[in-house]
């Protein structure tokens, strides 16, 4: 759904709103409501894919590829270049409309489906390649985050692999060294702010959530303030 933890493009929009203790209600900051409200503006600030994703996908090919939390489709586009069929799933219809417009404007072919990362509407064992980028950190509570990792494992074929990323405490805007829940405001051009829930991860906690799931970690690293893991099904 979002790639908003990208420190390379976010500063202009988010620098004025420091993370703070979560005081909003769950309904106020749930990812669907939030991203439906900010979809258009958000999408404009998410033009370019992350280099970590391009590296992961270098040389990859697939029949079916899945982008969980596809947002405006900037990474679905990379999958579409490498797969017979690319499928983007997002909780926000507003973002899916942005993704479809992007596909049309940039001439790539992908299917877009509204769905929840912790209850994926795709059959098991079908995907050779998947991305779950900057989305897991929006889910709560932890049980639901782990369930979404199990869902990713279910979707992958036996030889499938995926890249998972979350926002990390290592990011320069955070002082904490241990993972925590917070709300980060999105500021619309009108000045209106829209709260978004995050669980900011520390590396050990990210490893523990992956370990609790049906995914097997092949590689993990921290880059540009995000924790990444290359995973396969157990």
């Amino acid at each position: 759904m979002d790639h908003d933890s990208d420190p390379r493009t976010d500063s202009a929009t988010e620098a004025d709103s420091d993370p703070r203790t979560d005081s909003t209600t769950e309904a106020d900051s749930d990812p669907r409501t939030t991203y439906d409200r900010i979809a258009s503006h958000f999408s404009k600030t998410r033009e370019y894919p992350w280099p970590e994703i391009e590296t992961f996908l270098d040389g990859a090919s697939a029949d079916d590829a899945l982008d969980v939390g596809c947002g405006n489709g900037r990474h679905t586009e990379l999958l579409a270049d490498r797969a017979t069929r690319a499928v983007g799933v997002d909780v926000s219809r507003g973002l899916l409309d942005e993704a479809r417009a992007r596909a049309s404007a940039r001439g790539f072919d992908a299917a877009f489906v509204q769905g929840d990362a912790s209850a994926l509407p795709v059959r098991g064992g079908r995907f050779d390649l998947a991305l779950y980028v900057a989305t897991l950190h929006h889910l709560r509570p932890r049980e639901r985050r782990v369930r979404s990792l199990d869902e990713l494992a279910r979707a992958l074929g036996p030889a499938g692999r995926a890249l998972v990323s979350v926002w990390s405490v290592d990011h320069e805007r955070f002082d904490a060294t241990e993972g925590f829940d917070t709300t980060v405001d999105w500021t619309l051009p009108s000045g209106e702010t829209v709260p978004r829930y995050y669980h900011i991860y520390d590396a050990a906690e990210f490893a523990a959530d992956l370990e609790s799931s049906a995914l097997d970690v092949r590689e993990s690293f921290v880059s540009s303030g995000n924790c990444f893991a290359v995973v396969r099904p157990d």
Partner: protein, 61 residues
């Protein structure tokens, strides 16, 4: 959505098969219609070409 997408979609609740009901199509593209869980009986709308396969309890938020 393309009709061929049916081969990878499933009911988010129990992962069982879905049945496609079409109200409006443009070639292979389904514009309006619904996906119905063959086991759960849940109805998932297809609106302006995009299927809404959110679990029903998330749909009305």
């Amino acid at each position: 959505m393309k009709e061929s997408l049916m081969d990878i979609l499933c009911d988010p609740l129990d992962k069982s098969e879905l049945e496609l009901e079409v109200d409006e199509r443009d070639g292979e593209e389904i514009i309006e219609g619904r996906l119905v869980g063959t086991v759960t009986g849940e109805v998932y709308p297809i609106e302006d070409g995009i299927p809404n396969l959110l679990p029903p309890d998330m749909r009305e938020e």
